[in-house]
Amino acid sequence: MADKAAANRRGVAGWLDPLHFNIERWAYVFQRVTGLAVLAYVVGHIGDTSFFVGGPFGEGPSSSSWAADLGVTENVLGHLVLVMVVLVVVYHGINGARLILAEYGLIFAKPSRPEYPYRAKSLRTVQRHLIWVAIVVAILAALYSGGLMMG
């Protein structure tokens, strides 16, 4: 009994177990990973943009401080980071919109009696297409943003 209970506690590593997962579960894993990534960027971005006013000890808009900040962020590596941020933030936003609609039951089909091959019919609706919309639009937005910054 104790062993069985322990086996069910997989912790964070359990997020990455690919077995028995449907696409909704993968969308959930990516929602959390992208959420943490966006949060890390936001914290950094608040620190980075504070150099517009001279950093933690600045007192007002400073062109020299901002030029120094842009010197750190405006290069190929900085632009690649921004492209990755666009990728994860667009996915997180569209998939998040799907989750809110799903939470209120707006994009599920009616549950029905299980029939072979026992796939949940309630899930096989527009909500599943929205996951692919999130993935495809995120990739397109990332490529577009890369073009805007490099071009």
């Binding site: 966006v38 620190g47 006013v53 007192e59 007002g60 808009p61």
Partner: protein, 116 residues
């Protein structure tokens, strides 16, 4: 706040963030060319516009509330102990308010400070 209220807050801030982040991304590269959007004069004029500065402030508060409540949810799901729950709730609240304060300071100084 009850967890159900916090979850509603998570959805409300999510919808607000979708609108505000979309606008922010459009202003930082699509409607305004990227090179111009990060230039000192352009950023200064954004902060000196009451509407634009207020939008940045709201964006700051909404995204921090949503992001750190999300982190809190992940941390509480990770371990279930009373002490852990209390520690995470208070720790996340303190960090969130500190960052809201630091970001708000940037907005206020950028909007009203002496330009050098």
């Amino acid at each position: 706040m009850r967890e159900s209220s916090l979850m509603r807050l998570q959805y409300v801030t999510a919808v607000a963030a979708i609108v505000l982040v979309s606008l922010h991304l459009l202003m930082q590269g699509v409607l305004v060319p990227y090179g111009e959007a990060v230039s000192f004069q352009r950023v200064l004029s954004v902060y000196r516009s009451a509407v634009d500065a207020a939008l940045l402030e709201v964006l700051l508060l909404v995204v921090l509330a949503h992001g750190f409540n999300g982190l809190r949810i992940i941390l509480l799901e990770w371990r279930q102990e009373a002490a852990w729950t209390r520690g995470v709730n208070w720790g996340v609240l303190v960090v969130t308010l500190a960052l809201m304060g630091y970001g708000t300071r940037t907005v206020i100084l950028a909007a009203t400070g002496q330009v050098t």
